[in-house]
């Protein structure tokens, strides 16, 4: 197990390295002149040259890449271009916390609901109930989260007035108040993810219910309840764990549209603003942060799966 974790970690690091290279290329290779942009259209050429020198933008690519790697390792991405004087890391930290809050809250709402839904659908396979769960899931997860965000915002926030329509959470808000503000965007996430996770869970559970070991368990004389609890779930939830792992990664930063709708200061919005500014250090750091979170989540999911299923520890290569 320990060796598995180490190997898995090494793989993650390699992936991360490639990713940083990709991000680096994306922000450097394309025609753009950060120094000119920083100096503004009326900045003097001297100022531009000075900036280029200060920022090391004319060093060979490899040097610049090395610097970026060093930044990642030391978690120090320097100063923001668009908000001079601000450390990039200080800009990211509160946003990360905000995103984490929203994601966590959404997951707490989604996971139990969709896992139970998926299991029920699998147990009642091909019945009306199953079709209903599957189709509702399919439909709801087809709607982009900012679209369901807008719909929820209108119906619950404006029309019914039950919940705050934008998430301008007051600074001194209590946890309950804060959750009230977060509930609408979180519900939009539930919308998208319920169907997704329920369907994955359903498929996994059907496979496990059909498996020979489930038959063995029945033949031992176990009740359906015990069969499901002791034998089915442990195997059937593995895909659910895997998917949840990757999806948590996507939720950080992937919710740009939703954050715009609710004007929620999360990572996505930060990255969008950094891209349009443009603020390269902030942009790079933001995207790399998202990637690191993704790595950690999938790593966590894989370790959990390896714990659930000893066979998974063996075929690390195939699983990638």
């Amino acid at each position: 197990m320990f060796r598995y974790v180490l190997r898995r970690l090494a793989l993650s690091l390699i992936t991360l390295l490639i990713l940083i290279a990709v991000i680096f290329l994306l922000t450097r290779v394309f025609p753009s002149d950060p120094a000119r942009q920083l100096a503004g259209p009326f900045g003097s050429q001297e100022r531009v040259d000075q900036l280029n020198r200060d920022l090391g933008l004319q060093d060979p690519m490899i040097t610049q890449f090395g610097r970026l790697l060093r930044d990642v390792v030391t978690l120090d991405f320097g100063e923001s271009y668009s908000q001079p004087g601000e450390r990039v890391l200080d800009l990211i930290r509160p946003r990360l916390a905000n995103s984490a809050k929203l994601v966590l809250f959404a997951l707490i709402l989604t996971l139990p609901l969709s896992i139970v839904g998926g299991i029920i659908a699998a147990r009642k396979k091909d019945t009306l109930l199953d079709r209903t769960i599957v189709n509702i899931g399919l439909a709801s997860s087809s709607i982009p989260e900012f679209v369901s965000g807008v719909l929820l915002q209108y119906i619950i926030g404006v029309k019914l007035g039950w919940l705050p329509a934008v998430t301008n959470i007051p600074d001194d808000a209590s946890l309950i108040t804060e959750l009230r503000y977060l509930l609408l965007p979180a519900l939009a996430i539930v919308f998208v993810y319920f169907g997704y996770i329920a369907r994955i869970t359903r498929a996994g559970t059907i496979t496990a219910l059909d498996a020979d070991y489930t038959r063995t368990a029945y033949m031992k004389g176990l009740s359906t309840r015990s069969v499901v609890r002791k034998h089915v779930l442990r195997n059937s939830l593995q895909p659910t764990v895997a998917v949840t792992g990757t999806q948590i990664g996507y939720l950080f930063g992937g919710l740009v549209g939703l954050e715009v709708v609710f004007n929620y200061p999360g990572l996505g919005l930060l990255i969008l603003n950094a891209a349009t500014a443009p603020d390269f250090p902030l942009l790079q750091a933001g995207v790399i942060t998202v990637a690191i979170i993704f790595m950690l989540c999938t790593l966590g999911a894989d370790i959990l799966i390896a714990y659930m299923n000893p066979r998974a520890r063996m075929n690390l290569k195939e699983s990638s």
Partner: protein, 689 residues
């Protein structure tokens, strides 16, 4: 359609005391809303302590019967009539909790593929202990009982096995564990559905020994399903022969196998190469046609479409149950005419085998590298075969048979040093580097035709492409040749435009053989070509291969685990163990002279339909890992004739004990002729690390 119970079966005994009494069971599977009949009026009884076998080709309803016996039926199964009594109680009418109670204490089941039968996520200990917890034991008691249970199925080191996960154990070991779980609470009924299918013959023999021993210990009634009739004969008191969901003959196992009284039983038995029959003696009996589809209305005799004796009576009247002996009956109108079913004649009495070697392997080795370890899968193999000759290759799985075949074919390149020659000319080691002539000269028939044929291609395209690729025949001429080829394989022209999915297993294998012969090859490698097929289909394929060989003077490298088949078809046999050829000789000699100790054990492992004297030499332990082969003679860890102090130190040379018969062993003929002492009880299974 149900026939009233005739007087002939009245002597079955009292169903109320039978361990299992299936009575007039009618069962259907609902497919797209339509119930399709699968079991037709199935009736049989098993007395306490008795072993009852069920045989018949796949799809005839054996497994359905087995599952019905424990009421574990798929959702779409509909019981349309009848009863399943266990000790007089109808399990089809039990409440759910009664059923659970019944399964946990009265009856249990073991089925094919033990690897799938165990939960991959839980340790063995937890899974075995669970059975005892259901009986009310505490966790620690249950764990102790689990250890005892494993000891009972002769697992040498229960404590360590309990601590393992299923994927860390071999198939044979896992099947023991499954059996141990089945024995919890000493059930009165044990249902075994193909319990040894997929296991090596040597492992199969051990598992069967174990079941036999446990049976005498527990006095459980057994319902055993196996497609290997030899297994049924050696294990069962009585046997039922099933066809299209109906039991067509029932009786004492030995009596039924020695004197079948139903055309179907007779057909099945004649289709098996047995009693040492060789291809030069006679062709194998085949049963033309296919099992009727499930749900086909069969108002008359179920076997009427394939029966050589069928006449108008059979087509219009349901045959009665005719008692033919003590507890032996058959469901047929024309039992008196059974003798008219004759055995096929000798097809070819003389096979013309050349003297020159077509292919010669000289010192061929193949070492795989796996996680930094060298794994020698072939060690210095010398082998040649003549024109028109069949060389049978046998050995347990993992002994290197397929590696040898693939190296010959150029799928693997051998280690440097050895070489392979085709008619004296050395071939390149990789298939893609070989000249056209070498490519044409060697072809292959795979084990699984589903995998071997491209699903998206029609049969015509498969054959034509191979033909035009390997030969100069092109265009319209090629089309004609394809049709000829198909005809030679007894494929009808309409099959040519089908895709593999539309063909039965036997037909698919014919297509695969047609493809292999398209380039008129010198050598065809056949890797277990019939092991996925039913015996009646197997017989037709073996006949076909024998005829083709004689017409085309092709050589076969025929890999199989079925000793009966290899004896029927092969002219010479090579026995492999851990990548080495341990013995080679002509088929006659192999079955008459002394053998290598490994061959001796291998041959004795196979239960025979003919019921020859049981004289089993158990192979202890599992085949060692090729990555870490034993010192000296690689077989010494399992050899029953091992010479202490010599065999584990020095590797023996090949010695020729009679012309063409070579053995890799230190012992002399005289020493090998001394009979070995046979241990009575089942052997202990040890963990291979």
């Amino acid at each position: 359609m149900t026939v009233t119970e005739p007087a002939g079966i009245a002597d079955r005994g009292d169903p109320a005391t039978a361990a299992l009494a299936v009575q007039n069971l009618e069962l259907a599977y609902e497919v797209r809303g339509v119930p399709r009949e699968v079991l037709r009026d199935v009736t049989f009884q098993i007395r306490p302590g008795e072993a009852f076998g069920l045989v018949g080709e796949s799809g005839c309803g054996k497994s359905t019967t087995a599952y019905a016996a424990l009421r574990y039926l798929p959702d779409n199964a509909v019981v349309q009539g009848g009863a399943v009594l266990a000790n007089g109680v109808d399990i089809l009418k039990m409440s759910n909790s009664q059923l659970r109670e019944f399964r946990s204490t009265q009856a249990s089941m073991v089925y094919q593929d033990p690897v799938q039968a165990m939960n991959p996520a839980l340790k063995i200990g937890r899974q075995v202990a669970e059975c005892y917890q259901i009986l009310g034991q505490s966790k620690s008691e249950a764990m102790a009982s689990a250890g005892d249970a494993l000891r009972r199925v002769k697992i040498a080191d229960p404590v360590r096995v309990l601590d393992r996960y299923p994927h860390q154990l071999s198939g044979g070991m896992l099947q023991r564990v499954v059996i141990a779980m089945a024995l919890t609470g000493d059930p009165k009924l044990l249902v075994l559905d193909e319990p040894t299918t997929g296991l090596d013959a040597t492992v199969e023999a051990e598992v069967l020994d174990l079941v036999r021993e446990l049976r005498s210990e527990t006095n459980a009634a057994i319902l055993l399903i196996a497609h290997n009739l030899g297994v049924i004969r050696s294990m069962c008191d009585r046997v039922g022969v099933m066809y299209a969901g109906r039991i067509v003959e029932e009786g004492n196992a030995q009596v039924v196998f020695d004197n079948p009284e139903h055309p179907y039983t007779k057909g099945l038995l004649n289709a098996i190469p047995r009693q040492g029959v060789r291809k030069t003696d006679r062709a194998l009996f085949t049963i033309p046609g296919n099992l009727p589809l499930i749900g086909t209305p069969l108002p008359t005799c179920v076997y009427v479409d394939r029966c050589p004796l069928a006449d108008d009576v059979c087509r219009t009247q349901v045959p009665p149950v005719v008692p033919v002996g003590e507890g032996h009956w058959s469901r047929c109108h024309h039992i008196d005419r059974l003798a008219q079913i004759t055995e096929p004649d000798a097809q070819i009495t003389e096979y013309d085998i050349g003297t020159d070697n077509v292919i010669q392997l000289n010192g061929v080795s193949k070492t795989f590298r796996q996680r930094g370890h060298d794994v020698p899968a072939l060690v210095s193999v010398d082998l040649g075969f003549h024109e028109g000759e069949t060389l049978g290759l046998v050995g347990e799985s993992g002994s290197g048979k397929s590696t040898l075949a693939k190296t010959l074919l150029g799928i693997h390149s051998p280690d440097s040093g050895g070489n392979i020659t085709l008619r004296g000319r050395e071939m390149k080691s990789k298939a893609t580097d070989r000249i056209a002539e070498s490519t044409r000269a060697i072809s292959m028939v795979f084990q699984n035709p589903d995998s071997a044929l491209n699903r998206m291609w029609t049969v015509r395209r498969i054959l034509k492409r191979t033909l035009t690729k390997l030969t100069d025949v092109q265009g319209a001429e090629a089309d004609r040749r394809v049709e000829e080829l198909a005809e030679a394989m007894r494929l009808s022209p309409r099959h040519l435009d089908m895709r593999p999915r539309q063909l039965s297993g036997g037909l698919k294998q014919r297509v695969a053989i047609a493809r292999a012969f398209a380039g008129s090859p010198d050598v065809v490698v056949c890797d277990e070509p019939t092991s996925a097929l039913d015996v009646s289909v197997q017989a037709a394929i073996l006949n076909l291969l024998a005829n083709l060989q004689n017409d085309e003077r092709t050589s076969y490298l025929f890999i199989t685990h079925d000793i009966g088949v290899v004896r029927y078809l092969a002219d010479r046999i090579a026995v492999m163990y851990l990548g080495r050829i341990m013995e080679i000789g002509s088929t006659d000699v192999m079955f008459s002279e002394v053998n290598h100790p490994y061959t001796e054990a291998l041959l004795s492992a196979v239960p025979s339909v003919d019921g020859e004297a049981e004289n089993r030499i158990p192979l202890t332990g599992e085949i060692p890992s090729p990555a870490n082969p034993p010192s000296g003679c690689v077989f010494h860890t399992r050899c029953h004739r091992v010479i202490e102090g010599l065999c584990e130190v020095t590797e023996p040379e090949m010695q020729e004990i009679s012309p063409g018969h070579r053995i890799k062993c230190h012992l002399t003929i005289e020493q090998l002729s001394v009979p070995v002492e046979i241990k009575e009880s089942a052997t202990l299974a040890t963990l291979a690390d």
